[in-house]
Amino acid sequence: MNFNDNKAIYLQIAEWVFEQILNGNWKEGDRIMSVRELGTLLVVNPNTILRSYDFLQKLEVIVNRRGVGYFVAPDATDKIISHRRKQFVEEEVPAFFKTMKLVRMSWEELAELYKES
Protein backbone atom coordinates (compact mmCIF):
# COMPACT_ATOMS: atom_id res chain seq x y z
CA MET A 1 0.00 0.00 0.00
CA ASN A 2 1.26 3.45 -0.84
CA PHE A 3 0.68 6.04 1.81
CA ASN A 4 0.51 9.73 1.03
CA ASP A 5 2.84 12.07 2.76
CA ASN A 6 0.89 14.01 5.33
CA LYS A 7 -1.85 11.98 6.95
CA ALA A 8 -1.29 9.58 9.87
CA ILE A 9 -0.98 6.02 8.60
CA TYR A 10 -3.65 4.62 10.93
CA LEU A 11 -6.16 7.09 9.44
CA GLN A 12 -5.15 6.15 5.89
CA ILE A 13 -5.70 2.49 6.77
CA ALA A 14 -9.14 3.36 8.22
CA GLU A 15 -9.99 5.06 4.91
CA TRP A 16 -8.83 1.98 3.05
CA VAL A 17 -11.25 -0.06 5.19
CA PHE A 18 -14.07 2.44 4.41
CA GLU A 19 -13.42 1.79 0.72
CA GLN A 20 -13.47 -1.98 1.14
CA ILE A 21 -16.89 -1.68 2.81
CA LEU A 22 -18.40 0.97 0.51
CA ASN A 23 -17.41 -0.86 -2.67
CA GLY A 24 -18.72 -4.15 -1.28
CA ASN A 25 -15.45 -6.11 -0.94
CA TRP A 26 -16.19 -6.38 2.76
CA LYS A 27 -19.89 -6.93 3.45
CA GLU A 28 -21.85 -5.85 6.52
CA GLY A 29 -21.80 -8.59 9.14
CA ASP A 30 -18.75 -10.29 7.60
CA ARG A 31 -15.72 -11.23 9.60
CA ILE A 32 -12.69 -9.20 8.55
CA MET A 33 -8.97 -9.89 8.60
CA SER A 34 -7.21 -10.08 11.95
CA VAL A 35 -4.81 -7.37 13.03
CA ARG A 36 -1.84 -9.55 12.10
CA GLU A 37 -3.23 -10.61 8.73
CA LEU A 38 -3.93 -7.03 7.70
CA GLY A 39 -0.50 -5.97 9.03
CA THR A 40 1.16 -8.50 6.76
CA LEU A 41 -1.07 -7.63 3.79
CA LEU A 42 -0.39 -3.89 4.02
CA VAL A 43 3.15 -4.34 5.41
CA VAL A 44 2.46 -2.19 8.43
CA ASN A 45 3.34 -2.68 12.11
CA PRO A 46 0.50 -4.62 13.80
CA ASN A 47 0.24 -1.93 16.51
CA THR A 48 -0.67 0.59 13.81
CA ILE A 49 -3.42 -1.72 12.53
CA LEU A 50 -4.66 -2.12 16.10
CA ARG A 51 -4.90 1.66 16.36
CA SER A 52 -6.91 1.78 13.10
CA TYR A 53 -9.25 -0.93 14.39
CA ASP A 54 -9.73 0.94 17.70
CA PHE A 55 -10.58 4.06 15.71
CA LEU A 56 -13.03 2.10 13.49
CA GLN A 57 -14.63 0.58 16.59
CA LYS A 58 -15.18 4.04 18.08
CA LEU A 59 -16.93 5.04 14.83
CA GLU A 60 -18.97 1.81 15.17
CA VAL A 61 -17.91 0.75 11.68
CA ILE A 62 -16.49 -2.53 12.97
CA VAL A 63 -17.17 -4.52 16.11
CA ASN A 64 -14.88 -6.78 18.10
CA ARG A 65 -16.34 -10.06 19.35
CA ARG A 66 -13.94 -11.16 22.00
CA GLY A 67 -12.09 -14.32 21.10
CA VAL A 68 -13.78 -14.53 17.69
CA GLY A 69 -12.47 -11.53 15.77
CA TYR A 70 -13.50 -8.31 14.12
CA PHE A 71 -16.70 -7.94 12.06
CA VAL A 72 -18.15 -5.26 9.81
CA ALA A 73 -20.98 -3.62 11.79
CA PRO A 74 -24.50 -4.26 10.42
CA ASP A 75 -25.01 -0.54 9.69
CA ALA A 76 -21.39 0.20 8.76
CA THR A 77 -22.25 1.94 5.48
CA ASP A 78 -24.45 4.53 7.25
CA LYS A 79 -21.76 5.12 9.87
CA ILE A 80 -19.09 5.63 7.25
CA ILE A 81 -21.25 8.03 5.24
CA SER A 82 -22.07 10.13 8.28
CA HIS A 83 -18.41 10.20 9.30
CA ARG A 84 -17.26 11.12 5.79
CA ARG A 85 -19.97 13.81 5.55
CA LYS A 86 -18.79 15.39 8.76
CA GLN A 87 -15.21 15.28 7.53
CA PHE A 88 -16.23 16.74 4.17
CA VAL A 89 -18.10 19.64 5.74
CA GLU A 90 -15.47 20.40 8.37
CA GLU A 91 -12.25 19.84 6.44
CA GLU A 92 -12.73 19.71 2.69
CA VAL A 93 -15.51 22.25 2.09
CA PRO A 94 -13.70 25.22 3.72
CA ALA A 95 -10.61 24.59 1.53
CA PHE A 96 -12.87 24.19 -1.51
CA PHE A 97 -14.65 27.52 -0.80
CA LYS A 98 -11.32 29.20 -0.30
CA THR A 99 -10.13 28.08 -3.74
CA MET A 100 -13.51 29.07 -5.27
CA LYS A 101 -13.08 32.60 -3.96
CA LEU A 102 -9.45 32.68 -5.07
CA VAL A 103 -10.33 31.80 -8.67
CA ARG A 104 -13.48 33.96 -8.52
CA MET A 105 -15.88 31.19 -9.38
CA SER A 106 -19.58 31.89 -8.95
CA TRP A 107 -22.29 29.57 -7.60
CA GLU A 108 -23.88 29.43 -11.01
CA GLU A 109 -20.67 28.22 -12.65
CA LEU A 110 -20.27 25.62 -9.96
CA ALA A 111 -23.87 24.45 -10.37
CA GLU A 112 -23.25 23.99 -14.11
CA LEU A 113 -20.17 21.87 -13.39
CA TYR A 114 -22.13 19.83 -10.85
CA LYS A 115 -24.90 19.14 -13.39
CA GLU A 116 -22.34 18.05 -15.97
CA SER A 117 -20.52 15.71 -13.59
Binding site: N6, K7, I9, T40, V43, V44, N45
Partner: protein, 281 residues
Protein backbone atom coordinates in the same frame (compact mmCIF):
# COMPACT_ATOMS: atom_id res chain seq x y z
CA UNK B 1 12.67 -6.59 28.96
CA UNK B 2 15.85 -4.59 28.44
CA UNK B 3 17.09 -2.28 31.17
CA UNK B 4 20.27 -0.24 30.92
CA UNK B 5 21.08 1.96 33.90
CA UNK B 6 23.80 4.58 34.10
CA UNK B 7 26.02 2.76 31.63
CA UNK B 8 29.57 4.02 31.10
CA UNK B 9 31.62 2.47 28.36
CA UNK B 10 34.79 3.11 26.38
CA UNK B 11 37.09 0.93 24.34
CA UNK B 12 40.73 0.64 25.41
CA UNK B 13 42.39 4.03 25.46
CA UNK B 14 39.58 5.20 23.22
CA UNK B 15 37.14 8.02 23.60
CA UNK B 16 34.05 7.60 25.75
CA UNK B 17 31.26 5.80 23.90
CA UNK B 18 28.57 5.91 26.60
CA UNK B 19 28.39 8.43 29.36
CA UNK B 20 25.79 7.60 32.03
CA UNK B 21 23.39 6.10 29.48
CA UNK B 22 20.02 4.74 30.59
CA UNK B 23 17.42 3.00 28.44
CA UNK B 24 14.37 0.85 29.06
CA UNK B 25 12.67 -1.18 26.30
CA UNK B 26 9.48 -3.25 26.48
CA UNK B 27 8.06 -6.21 24.55
CA UNK B 28 5.46 -5.87 21.80
CA UNK B 29 7.33 -3.24 19.83
CA UNK B 30 9.63 -2.93 16.86
CA UNK B 31 12.14 -0.28 17.86
CA UNK B 32 14.33 1.55 15.35
CA UNK B 33 17.74 2.48 16.75
CA UNK B 34 19.29 5.47 15.01
CA UNK B 35 22.47 7.48 15.41
CA UNK B 36 25.30 8.93 13.37
CA UNK B 37 28.26 6.78 12.37
CA UNK B 38 30.31 5.96 15.43
CA UNK B 39 27.52 6.88 17.87
CA UNK B 40 27.77 3.41 19.40
CA UNK B 41 24.71 1.60 18.00
CA UNK B 42 26.49 -1.71 17.53
CA UNK B 43 28.21 -1.41 20.92
CA UNK B 44 24.82 -0.81 22.53
CA UNK B 45 23.43 -3.99 20.96
CA UNK B 46 26.51 -5.91 22.12
CA UNK B 47 26.09 -4.71 25.72
CA UNK B 48 22.43 -5.81 25.66
CA UNK B 49 23.49 -9.22 24.29
CA UNK B 50 26.22 -9.59 26.95
CA UNK B 51 29.07 -9.43 24.43
CA UNK B 52 30.57 -6.21 25.84
CA UNK B 53 30.74 -5.22 29.48
CA UNK B 54 30.06 -1.72 30.70
CA UNK B 55 32.73 -0.05 32.88
CA UNK B 56 29.99 0.86 35.33
CA UNK B 57 26.22 0.77 35.48
CA UNK B 58 23.93 -2.21 35.01
CA UNK B 59 22.69 -3.98 31.91
CA UNK B 60 19.75 -6.28 32.56
CA UNK B 61 18.26 -8.38 29.77
CA UNK B 62 15.20 -10.57 30.45
CA UNK B 63 15.71 -10.06 34.17
CA UNK B 64 19.29 -11.35 34.10
CA UNK B 65 22.58 -9.47 34.23
CA UNK B 66 23.51 -9.54 30.54
CA UNK B 67 27.24 -10.03 31.20
CA UNK B 68 26.58 -13.37 32.95
CA UNK B 69 25.25 -14.80 29.65
CA UNK B 70 22.99 -17.27 31.45
CA UNK B 71 21.43 -19.97 29.27
CA UNK B 72 17.99 -18.69 30.32
CA UNK B 73 18.79 -15.35 28.66
CA UNK B 74 20.69 -16.68 25.64
CA UNK B 75 17.96 -19.05 24.49
CA UNK B 76 15.52 -16.14 24.47
CA UNK B 77 17.71 -13.68 22.63
CA UNK B 78 18.95 -13.61 19.05
CA UNK B 79 21.52 -11.10 17.86
CA UNK B 80 21.77 -10.76 14.10
CA UNK B 81 25.12 -9.13 13.43
CA UNK B 82 25.80 -6.92 10.45
CA UNK B 83 28.36 -9.35 9.02
CA UNK B 84 26.82 -12.78 9.35
CA UNK B 85 29.09 -15.70 10.14
CA UNK B 86 28.32 -18.91 8.25
CA UNK B 87 30.09 -22.27 8.53
CA UNK B 88 30.78 -24.43 5.45
CA UNK B 89 27.69 -26.61 5.85
CA UNK B 90 24.30 -26.87 4.16
CA UNK B 91 21.25 -24.87 5.28
CA UNK B 92 19.72 -28.15 6.48
CA UNK B 93 22.74 -28.96 8.65
CA UNK B 94 22.91 -25.39 9.94
CA UNK B 95 19.38 -25.78 11.32
CA UNK B 96 20.25 -29.17 12.82
CA UNK B 97 23.28 -27.63 14.51
CA UNK B 98 21.90 -24.32 15.79
CA UNK B 99 18.12 -24.67 16.14
CA UNK B 100 18.36 -26.86 19.30
CA UNK B 101 19.68 -23.83 21.22
CA UNK B 102 16.29 -22.17 20.75
CA UNK B 103 13.40 -24.10 22.26
CA UNK B 104 10.76 -22.20 20.29
CA UNK B 105 12.44 -22.60 16.91
CA UNK B 106 9.76 -23.23 14.27
CA UNK B 107 10.94 -25.11 11.21
CA UNK B 108 7.73 -24.44 9.26
CA UNK B 109 8.18 -20.70 9.72
CA UNK B 110 11.83 -20.97 8.71
CA UNK B 111 10.92 -22.70 5.46
CA UNK B 112 8.13 -20.21 4.78
CA UNK B 113 10.52 -17.25 5.19
CA UNK B 114 13.11 -18.92 2.95
CA UNK B 115 10.40 -19.56 0.39
CA UNK B 116 9.37 -15.87 0.44
CA UNK B 117 13.03 -14.92 -0.04
CA UNK B 118 13.09 -17.38 -2.96
CA UNK B 119 15.73 -19.63 -1.47
CA UNK B 120 14.67 -23.04 -2.69
CA UNK B 121 17.38 -25.54 -1.87
CA UNK B 122 18.15 -26.56 1.71
CA UNK B 123 21.16 -28.54 0.50
CA UNK B 124 23.27 -25.63 -0.74
CA UNK B 125 26.37 -24.94 1.27
CA UNK B 126 26.08 -21.62 3.07
CA UNK B 127 29.61 -20.62 2.06
CA UNK B 128 28.68 -21.12 -1.60
CA UNK B 129 25.94 -18.49 -1.33
CA UNK B 130 26.39 -14.78 -2.06
CA UNK B 131 26.54 -12.29 0.79
CA UNK B 132 22.90 -11.28 0.25
CA UNK B 133 21.69 -14.90 0.07
CA UNK B 134 23.53 -15.77 3.30
CA UNK B 135 21.91 -12.81 4.96
CA UNK B 136 18.45 -13.97 3.86
CA UNK B 137 19.06 -17.42 5.36
CA UNK B 138 20.27 -15.99 8.67
CA UNK B 139 17.42 -13.43 8.85
CA UNK B 140 14.94 -16.28 8.27
CA UNK B 141 16.66 -18.32 10.97
CA UNK B 142 16.71 -15.39 13.39
CA UNK B 143 12.97 -14.79 13.02
CA UNK B 144 12.12 -18.49 13.24
CA UNK B 145 13.91 -18.84 16.60
CA UNK B 146 10.93 -16.99 18.13
CA UNK B 147 13.12 -15.56 20.84
CA UNK B 148 11.59 -12.92 23.11
CA UNK B 149 14.29 -10.47 22.09
CA UNK B 150 15.62 -10.00 18.58
CA UNK B 151 18.47 -7.57 17.99
CA UNK B 152 19.26 -6.75 14.35
CA UNK B 153 22.25 -4.72 13.20
CA UNK B 154 21.79 -3.30 9.68
CA UNK B 155 19.66 -6.28 8.60
CA UNK B 156 18.90 -4.91 5.12
CA UNK B 157 22.52 -4.20 4.12
CA UNK B 158 23.37 -6.39 1.18
CA UNK B 159 19.76 -7.25 0.32
CA UNK B 160 18.65 -6.48 -3.23
CA UNK B 161 15.69 -4.17 -3.92
CA UNK B 162 12.88 -6.78 -4.04
CA UNK B 163 14.27 -8.52 -0.96
CA UNK B 164 13.92 -5.34 1.09
CA UNK B 165 10.16 -5.40 0.48
CA UNK B 166 10.04 -9.08 1.39
CA UNK B 167 12.07 -8.32 4.52
CA UNK B 168 9.43 -5.81 5.64
CA UNK B 169 6.62 -8.28 4.99
CA UNK B 170 8.37 -11.05 6.91
CA UNK B 171 9.00 -8.68 9.81
CA UNK B 172 5.27 -7.94 10.10
CA UNK B 173 4.65 -11.69 10.17
CA UNK B 174 7.23 -12.24 12.91
CA UNK B 175 6.21 -9.34 15.16
CA UNK B 176 3.82 -10.10 17.99
CA UNK B 177 2.55 -8.60 21.22
CA UNK B 178 5.30 -10.14 23.38
CA UNK B 179 8.37 -9.91 21.20
CA UNK B 180 10.88 -7.08 21.46
CA UNK B 181 12.60 -6.31 18.16
CA UNK B 182 15.37 -3.71 18.09
CA UNK B 183 16.72 -2.78 14.65
CA UNK B 184 19.76 -0.60 14.21
CA UNK B 185 20.05 0.92 10.75
CA UNK B 186 20.84 3.87 8.54
CA UNK B 187 18.40 2.65 5.88
CA UNK B 188 15.36 4.44 7.25
CA UNK B 189 13.29 3.77 4.12
CA UNK B 190 13.65 0.05 4.76
CA UNK B 191 11.83 0.43 8.07
CA UNK B 192 8.97 2.44 6.58
CA UNK B 193 5.73 1.63 8.46
CA UNK B 194 7.51 -1.18 10.27
CA UNK B 195 8.80 0.39 13.45
CA UNK B 196 6.45 1.73 16.10
CA UNK B 197 9.07 3.27 18.39
CA UNK B 198 12.24 5.28 17.87
CA UNK B 199 15.46 5.35 19.88
CA UNK B 200 18.05 7.99 18.95
CA UNK B 201 21.59 7.68 20.26
CA UNK B 202 23.87 10.71 20.27
CA UNK B 203 27.06 11.72 21.99
CA UNK B 204 26.98 8.92 24.56
CA UNK B 205 23.35 9.45 25.56
CA UNK B 206 19.86 8.42 24.55
CA UNK B 207 18.46 11.58 23.01
CA UNK B 208 15.02 10.17 22.32
CA UNK B 209 13.11 7.00 23.21
CA UNK B 210 9.48 7.42 22.19
CA UNK B 211 6.67 5.54 20.51
CA UNK B 212 5.63 6.65 17.02
CA UNK B 213 2.24 7.66 18.48
CA UNK B 214 3.91 9.79 21.13
CA UNK B 215 6.09 11.45 18.47
CA UNK B 216 3.19 12.30 16.15
CA UNK B 217 1.25 13.52 19.18
CA UNK B 218 3.97 16.06 19.95
CA UNK B 219 5.36 16.82 16.49
CA UNK B 220 3.87 17.54 13.05
CA UNK B 221 5.46 16.34 9.80
CA UNK B 222 4.16 18.10 6.72
CA UNK B 223 4.74 19.34 3.22
CA UNK B 224 3.45 22.81 2.69
CA UNK B 225 3.70 25.79 0.31
CA UNK B 226 2.50 27.89 3.18
CA UNK B 227 5.39 29.57 4.88
CA UNK B 228 3.19 31.14 7.50
CA UNK B 229 2.61 28.81 10.41
CA UNK B 230 2.07 29.70 14.04
CA UNK B 231 3.62 26.45 15.20
CA UNK B 232 7.26 26.53 16.35
CA UNK B 233 9.33 25.13 13.47
CA UNK B 234 12.00 22.62 14.47
CA UNK B 235 13.28 21.71 11.04
CA UNK B 236 12.68 22.83 7.46
CA UNK B 237 13.93 21.40 4.21
CA UNK B 238 13.13 22.68 0.72
CA UNK B 239 11.72 20.23 -1.74
CA UNK B 240 10.16 20.44 -5.22
CA UNK B 241 6.72 19.95 -3.74
CA UNK B 242 7.15 22.68 -1.13
CA UNK B 243 8.72 22.85 2.28
CA UNK B 244 9.15 19.75 4.38
CA UNK B 245 8.49 20.88 7.92
CA UNK B 246 8.76 19.46 11.39
CA UNK B 247 6.87 21.61 13.86
CA UNK B 248 5.61 21.29 17.38
CA UNK B 249 2.08 19.94 17.26
CA UNK B 250 0.16 22.67 19.05
CA UNK B 251 -3.07 22.21 17.06
CA UNK B 252 -3.22 18.45 17.64
CA UNK B 253 -3.14 17.45 13.99
CA UNK B 254 -2.21 13.84 13.35
CA UNK B 255 0.43 13.48 10.66
CA UNK B 256 2.66 10.70 9.42
CA UNK B 257 6.01 10.13 11.08
CA UNK B 258 8.98 10.72 8.75
CA UNK B 259 12.05 9.19 10.42
CA UNK B 260 14.58 11.09 8.33
CA UNK B 261 12.98 14.46 9.10
CA UNK B 262 12.61 13.47 12.75
CA UNK B 263 16.29 12.58 13.01
CA UNK B 264 17.36 15.91 11.53
CA UNK B 265 14.91 17.82 13.73
CA UNK B 266 16.18 16.04 16.84
CA UNK B 267 19.83 16.71 15.99
CA UNK B 268 19.12 20.44 15.55
CA UNK B 269 16.98 20.87 18.66
CA UNK B 270 18.38 18.56 21.30
CA UNK B 271 17.31 20.64 24.28
CA UNK B 272 13.79 21.34 23.06
CA UNK B 273 13.28 17.65 22.18
CA UNK B 274 14.45 16.72 25.63
CA UNK B 275 11.94 19.16 27.16
CA UNK B 276 9.10 17.89 24.97
CA UNK B 277 9.69 14.18 25.49
CA UNK B 278 11.50 13.69 28.77
CA UNK B 279 9.77 16.23 30.99
CA UNK B 280 8.10 14.56 33.94
CA UNK B 281 4.45 15.41 33.71
Amino acid sequence: MIQLQNINFSYHKGRTIFDDLSLSLEGGHIYGLFGKNGAGKTTLLKIIAGLRFPKSGSSTTLGQRAALRKAEMLKNLYFLQEEVYVPAISIRDYVKCYAPFYENFDNEQFEEYLHLFEITSMDDKLTALSHGQRKKVIISFALATNTKILLMDEPTNGLDIPSKGIFRKIMTMAANEDRLILISTHQVRDLHCLIDAVVILDNGHILLNASADDITDKLCFKITDDTGTDEPILYCEENLRGNLLVTENIHHIETKLDIELLFNAVMLNKERINELFNAKN
